[in-house]
Each structure stands twice: as C-alpha cells, then as structure tokens.
C-alpha cells in the first residue's frame, strides 16, 4: 500500500466519520444513534490502523484495537443495556429543528476547514488533510450536546466529541503517546460507568431523562 493510496483511504475514512457525525445530528431514534456511534468508532479504528500501518508507528495498532473494543463494542453495549433497563426507546425531540441544526453543522465544518488551512499547508504528514474533519467532528459533537435534551443523547454527543479528539490526535501527530492513550481509554470507560449511575439517579429523581427537568434545581430569586 503506497503512502498516497493510504492517504486516499484515510480521507475516505475521514469522510465517513464526518458523515456519521452528521448522522448523529439528525438521527431521532435512540437506537439509531447508538448504531451510528458504533459505526463512527469502527471507521475511527480503521483509520487509526491504516495510519499505523503506513507510518510504521506500531503503537497505533494498540490504539486501534482499544478503539474497537471500547467504542465499537463495550460502550454501545453498556448504553444499550441502559436503554433496555430504563425503557427509553421512544423518539426524542430536539431543541432546534433538524434542518437548522444541519445548517449550523455545515457552517462549523467550513469554519474548521478555514481554521486548519494554514496548518495543513505547513504539515508534511500523510494525515494532514483530515485535521479539519477531526476538528469538525469535535464541534459537531458539542453541537449535538447543545441541541439535544435527552441525557443519553448528550452522552453520545460527548463520546462523539471524544472520537473527534482522538481522530485529531492521530491526524495531527500520529497519535498521542501510549501512556496518554491508555489513560484516555480508561477515562472513557470510567466516564461511561459514572454516566450510568447519573442516569439512574436523574431518572429516579425526575422520573425522566429529560435534562430540561434539571432547570428546576436552579434557585429562584
């Protein structure tokens, strides 16, 4: 596999990741979101593996395997179990309507390309063209957290944001040092457990997982 071919494949992966990020923005059903998130993880894992293979940075394989286990299998499974347990399968409404969210998302992607243009020109890495996509994924994840009102979707948004960060690390510097990546992976796992506990508490307190309910906690003046 030549470097330029790898770059092409990597770009396709980046495109797919961006696509799934938009998919996450527009998907209304919670199980669909979960599937999309798993797909995004898979693309990320493939992209990391390709970069690792082409550049010879072998610890990226370990990252790739970690991504596969955690983000494609473990986390979706945990969330799936949670959804089953709490019986939340119904459609979820967004705060901003979906076309508007899409437009904002597109604006954010353009903004990311604009922002990373000078870096892309300076960089010599194979992955340089994907940095903009990585940044856009981070922004879209944040946007998803802003526009959704259900706690589980917010967590998925957060995890998508983390995917974007991971992708940015791979595309900007061929991945973070091994120790850091292991740490981050562990953090994600622990975060998932904590979220689970929070969901449970929010659900028992407010009898719903709608975070709008938490506005009641604000003190009145």
């Amino acid at each position: 596999m030549t470097t330029s071919f790898a770059a092409q494949v990597n770009s396709i992966m980046a495109a797919l990741i961006l696509l799934t990020a938009f998919g996450l923005l527009v998907q209304r059903r919670i199980l669909g979101l979960l599937h999309l998130f798993a797909w995004q993880g898979l693309f990320l894992c493939l992209s990391t593996a390709i970069v690792g293979y082409v550049t010879g940075v072998h610890h990226l394989f370990i990252s790739s395997i970690l991504t596969l286990t955690l983000k494609v299998i473990v986390l979706p499974y945990i969330l799936y179990a949670l959804i089953e347990k709490l019986h939340i399968k119904k459609e979820i409404e967004t705060l901003v309507n979906i076309p508007a969210t899409m437009l904002i998302g597109i604006a954010l992607v353009i903004f990311s390309y604009h922002l990373t243009a000078p870096i892309t020109q300076l960089s010599t890495l194979v992955t340089r063209s994907t940095l903009a996509v990585a940044l856009a994924t981070v922004m879209l994840g944040l946007l998803m957290m802003v526009t959704r009102r259900h706690a589980v979707t917010q967590i998925i948004g957060f995890l998508a944001l983390e995917n974007g960060l991971f992708f940015a690390a791979t595309s900007a510097t061929y991945g973070m040092p091994m120790v850091v990546e292991l740490g981050v992976a562990l953090d994600i796992l622990i975060a998932a457990f904590i979220f689970g506990i929070f969901f449970f508490h929010i659900n028992t307190t407010f009898d719903s997982l709608d975070v709008e309910q938490m506005a009641k906690l604000k003190e009145e003046d």
């Binding site: 944040l142 946007l143 957290m145 802003v146 009102r149 975070v211 604000k218």
Partner: protein, 680 residues
C-alpha cells in the same frame, strides 16, 4: 535586657492565655484572674520595651524562620514601633485590670474561655502589627487583629443586631485590607521587580526611591485601607455600629488602640517608605481629617446611646490626628522640618492621649452599663450619687476629650493649633486658604466636643434618675474596674501636666521621620513650660494652670466653709411648680436640639409629634407622643447606592445561569469558537 527582647517576651506572654485559659476552664474565677493578670504583665513589658526603644532610639531587627518557605518573617523594633508599642501596652494594661471586674460581671451561662482567648490574640495581633518588618507578616498580624476583634464584637451573638454589626465591621476591615495589600504589592514590585518576592521586606521598600505616579498609587491605596480601619469619614459607618454592641473593655481597646494601628500604618508608609511626596497628599489627609473631626463630633452630639456617642467621638479624634499628620506632610513637602516635627508630635501626642481618654471613657461607659444594664442616656441620670468614683473618672475623661486644661487633650490640640498658627505663607494659594479655615474648623470641633461632653456627663451623672427601674439597685462597681479607670485617669492627668518630658522622650520620632526636632525649643524653659517654637509666640504650663485651678477651688471651699455654718441641702427651687419631677429635666435630645437645628442638613432627621387625644376635647391633649430619628446621611448617600448597584449587577449576571445544561454547553461552544477565531 534589650528592648527588643522585652518586646518578644511581652508577645509570648500575651499569647499564653490562649493555652492557659482552656487549661483552667473548670474554674471561672481562676481563668479570669490568671489570664488578665498575665495580659496585664505582658502589657507592662510592652510599655517598658516601648519606652526604652524610644528613649535609646534602638533599631533592632530579627528574622524568624516561619511562614512560607523562602519568605521568613521579619521583626523590627525602632522608635516609631516603640511608641505605638507603648500606646498599646499602656491601654491594654489598664483595660486588663479593668476586665477582671468587668468579665466577672458577665452572666454565668456565657462561656468566657473564648472571650479570653480572642482578647489575648487581639492584643498579640496589635503588638505584632507594629513589630512586623515585612509586608507578609504585617498582613498576617493585621488579619489576626481584625479576625479576633470580629469574634469579640460578636461575643454576645444571640442578638441579630450584634451579628449584623460585626459583619459590617468585618466587610469594611477586609475591603481596607485588600487596599493595603495592593499598596504593599506596588511598593514591593517597585523595590525589587515584579518577578521576585524579595521586595516584600520593609527594608527593601525603605531603600527604594519611587516614581511619583506609583508612589501616589501606593499612598492612595494604603491611605484608603488604613482609613477604612480608622473610621475616617466616609468609611466610618462600622464604628457606631460595632462599638456599642461589643463588650465595653473591647470597645475601649478597639477605639483606643486598634484604630491607632492604622495611624501607625499611615505614618510608616508615608514618612518611612515613600519619604518624598507632593504637597497635595498632605492636603488630602488634612481635608479628610477636618471633615471627620467636624462631622464626627456633630453626629456624636445627636446620639443618646452612650457608647455610640463615644464611637462617633473616635471618628472626631482620628480626624484631629489626621489634621496633625496632614499638616506635617504639607510642611515636609515644603521643606519646613521643624514645623513638620511640631505637627507630627502633635498628631502622635494626640494618638497617645486619645488612647488614654477614650479608653477611660469607654471603661466608664462600661461601668455604667455594668451597673444599670442600660446604654440609653435618657434612661439614666443622677448616677453621681450612686457611683461617685466612676463619675469622677468619667469626668476626667470628659474634660480631657473636650480639650480643657490641665488634662492631656488640651496639650495635643493646642500643639495642633500651634502648627496651624505658626504655618508660614506657603506657595500654594489653596493651602493659604485651607490652613486658616482648618484652624477655625478645629476650634469649632473643640467647642462642639465640649458641648457634647457637657451633655454626656450632665445627662448621665447629674440631675435625677429617669430610668423606669429603681435606682436602688444601681451600685458602684468593684475595685478592679475602679483601679483600671483610675490608672487611666491618672495617666491623662500626668500627660497633661508633664508634656515637656513626654515630648523630650518622643523627639527622636520626628528626627528620624521628618528630619526636624522640637524638644530643644519645647523644653527650653524647664519642665514646667511648654514652648513649642519660641516663648514669644506661645507657651503653656499645665502645672501652673492646675495650681491655679486648685487655688480657685480652695478659695471657694474656704468661702463656703469658713463661715462656721454648716452647708445644708434644700430642695431645688421649683419655679412655682408644686413638685418638680425627673421628667422635667433637660434630656439628651433637648440639649442637642439647637445644634440639630443649626446643622440640620448634615443629618437625616425624621421628627414627628402627635397629640394622643383624650376623651374630653382635642384642644387639651393629655399626652404628646414625640418620635425623633437622626441618622447619618452617608448610609443613604454612599453605601446604599453601592449595595443596590452590586445587587443589580449580580442579578443581571445571575441571568447567565439558566439552570439548563444546553445553555451552559452553548457558552462552552461559543467560547471555543471565539477563542479559535481570535487566537487561532
């Protein structure tokens, strides 16, 4: 032993009740006697250290390896510190003796260990403030003093009023402390660059020459901070709130010496660190001093709460001290070292005097409170028959604070007047206008203070008992309290009779600080005559005045008693009424009424009288209800707008907090984008 060692011993001894009192908490009597005996001994040591330090002009310093790593505490005893050590020690000696009796009078259910502990820490804080020789240690001591006095003001914390007053005190003290901290920051930064911390010692601040702009910033910040502690108008609002609610021995210490630590701070920073300053700094100090003096005494006149009245008088006296300091600063900047020395001596002498007579007056007020359980003067009267000793000591305090010879208040105010009158034509027209005006206002202050204390003494001790309870249960206080007051009264008298000796003793202060001295001319005609400048210009002999007064008293006594006829008391002439009763007396409110009319615009007065109509006819009301509320305008003018503005802004900012997660996330998103746009 060197003075410095005595001072250190004094600090340790003063701190020992912190450990001693909890150890013997089982026995209430033992705790009181032991703790206050120890603090009295420690105060005595502080006085000795102070007197010796000023006398020998010592300049000892030491480094204590405590505090933060690489930032050790520095201590230093120089004549200025020694002088204030002496002031603090002298009053806390008297108050400690007085406290034995006063604290025993607390109700048995009140825990006293914490009182004793904070009392000791409070004095330790004050001693360390003057001994500190670096900004860090100074602020630690300053906060120790502020925090422990806060707990002492809060001592009777079951009343909401006390908690509110103590909180107000704490807030203003801390606003001031922040300003002081910033001022030290400016000076330390200029002394040794903003990168290293080594400029925090006072030595390096002393050795630096500051650019005028930064020096002004440092001066204004520190002056603001110290003025907040000293209660200079308009930062005085905490004084009349906190002093009445604190236990009286604490009021005596707070008003008598704690306020003086800020005078120390101003002198230290202005004359010792900044050294060269433009004349208008002095102008600011002088003007604020004049405002505080005049308004302080006017507000005092309107009070009928004895301790609140005294608290306003502290504002007035701090004003008088600042007048002296301001003049000294003006003369220093125009290069008149001798006049600057005279004004500085006047200010510092008044500092010492005010500590003595205000301490005495608060102790007297405490004795009255102790005996009558009453702070309102309208409910007192005729106490001279029940409490002869207290009334004599209180009278000494009144005469001293009203600046009447032969007591000490007269000497220092007279010296301040001399500084005004001797001032030559200066090159600034505004000063030539301000200085005579200042002298006139100071004279007005003195006259009003005299009126105020005629009222305070007359309404409280003379006439007939107005209270609702029986006067029979009012008794003279115990000998501890009387001893404390007596010692303070004797000191007031001695400071008024022997000013030459005192000035000779403290002459080293102006010599070090402003480069001039006056002892040679002040004592040129022996200890009896005080001639601050030259005999032709002005001279005063407290001793001769005293002898003269004694002669007059003796002659009058002879005229009364030499006729071999016993003096007998008859009922007072009742002007045709059948029976004169206690309600027909002059009251505190009626006494101050003319002044309230003249200076009405300074006060926020709400006065209403209402005829309570009887059954018979509206033209013949049986009862008149009269309500009068006099408040100081500053609260509504200055503090209320600030408070309301703060709440308004807080509410507006509070709108940011919607309680919805999405909104908070939008804040993050927008922040990220904005940062990327502008910094990316």
């Amino acid at each position: 032993m060197a003075p410095f060692d005595i001072a250190i011993v004094s600090v340790f001894l003063m701190a020992s009740p912190v450990i001693l009192a909890p150890c013997c908490a089982k026995s209430r009597g033992l705790t009181i006697y032991l703790s206050f005996a120890v603090t009295a001994a420690a105060s005595l040591a502080a006085v000795a250290a102070g007197i010796l330090a000023v006398h020998y002009g010592t300049n000892t310093s030491a480094i204590v390896q405590m505090g933060l790593p690489d930032l050790p505490f520095h201590l230093r005893l120089d004549p200025l510190a020694g002088f204030f050590l002496c002031v603090i020690g002298l009053l806390s000696l008297f108050v400690s003796i007085y406290s034995i009796g006063y604290v025993k009078g607390f109700s048995p259910s009140r825990p006293i260990v914490r009182f004793v502990v904070f009392y000791a820490l409070f004095i330790v804080g004050m001693l360390l403030v003057v001994l500190a020789d670096d900004a860090f240690f100074f602020l630690v001591a300053w906060e120790l003093m502020a925090a422990s006095s806060y707990f002492l003001v809060m001592y009777e914390d079951e009343k909401a009023e006390n908690r509110r007053s103590a909180y107000l005190y704490l807030v203003i003290a801390h606003v001031g402390a922040i300003a002081i901290l910033l001022s030290f920051g400016v000076m330390a930064g200029l002394a040794n660059g903003f990168e290293s911390f080594q400029g925090y010692t006072f030595d390096s601040m002393r050795a630096t020459t500051y650019p005028v702009g930064w020096a002004t910033a440092a001066f204004l910040l520190s002056f603001f901070g110290f003025a907040a502690k000293a209660g200079v108008i308009p930062l005085h609002v905490w004084l009349p709130e906190a002093h009445p609610v604190a236990p009286s021995n604490i009021s005596a210490l707070m008003s008598g010496v704690m306020l003086k630590t800020s005078i120390y701070g101003i002198v230290r920073i202005t004359f010792d660190f900044l050294k060269f300053f433009p004349w208008w700094w002095g102008g600011i100090v002088l003007v604020l001093g004049l405002i505080s003096a005049v308004l302080g005494v006017l507000y005092a006149l309107m009070q009928h709460d004895l301790k609140r009245l005294l608290a306003y008088h502290s504002v007035e006296n701090i004003g008088i001290i600042l007048i002296g300091l301001g003049l000294s600063m003006i003369f220093t900047s125009f290069q008149f070292p001798v006049l600057a020395a005279l004004a500085l001596i006047a200010a510092l002498y008044h500092t010492l005097n005010h500590a003595m007579f205000k301490g005495l007056l608060f102790m007297g007020a405490g004795a009255v409170l102790h005996a009558t359980h009453e702070r309102n003067m309208e409910e007192m009267g005729g106490l001279i028959h029940r409490m002869p000793w207290t009334s004599v000591f209180f009278l000494v305090g009144c005469v001293s604070i009203a600046a009447l010879p032969p007591f000490n208040g007269f000497v220092s105010e007279w010296l301040t007047f001399q500084a005004f009158l001797l001032s030559p034509a200066l090159q600034r027209p505004i000063l030539n206008l301000l200085i005579p005006l200042g002298a006139a206002l100071l004279a007005l202050t003195g006259a009003l203070a005299a009126a105020c204390f005629v009222k305070a003494f007359g309404v409280t001790f003379l006439g007939h008992w107005r209270g609702h309870q029986s006067i029979q249960r009012v008794h003279e206080v115990g000998w501890h309290m009387r001893t404390g007051m007596m010692l303070a009264a004797v000191t007031c008298f001695a400071l008024g009779i022997f000013p030459t000796i005192v000035i000779n003793w403290m002459d080293v202060l102006p010599e070090r600080l402003v480069g001039g001295r006056i002892a040679a001319s002040a004592g040129a005609y022996g200890w009896m005559w005080l001639t601050p400048y030259a005999r032709e210009r002005a001279s005063y002999s407290g001793f001769n005045v005293f002898i003269g007064i004694m002669l007059v008293v003796f002659v009058v006594w002879l005229l009364l008693h030499a006729r071999k006829k016993a003096v007998h008391r008859v009922p007072i002439w009742d002007c045709g009424f059948e029976k004169i009763n206690a309600r027909m007396q002059y009251t505190a409110t009626s006494f101050s009424m003319p002044i309230r009319r003249i200076f009405g615009f300074f006060f926020h007065i709400r006065e209403e009288s209402q005829a309570v109509e009887p059954i018979r006819h509206p033209a013949y009301p049986e009862k008149l209800q009269y309500r009068l509320r006099v408040r100081d305008r500053f609260w509504n003018w200055l503090y209320k707008p600030i408070g309301e503005g703060a709440f308004f802004i807080a509410r507006k900012i509070g709108n940011l907090q919607q309680g919805r997660i999405q909104v908070y996330l939008i804040y993050s998103l927008v922040t990220i984008i904005v940062l990327l746009v502008f910094l990316g």
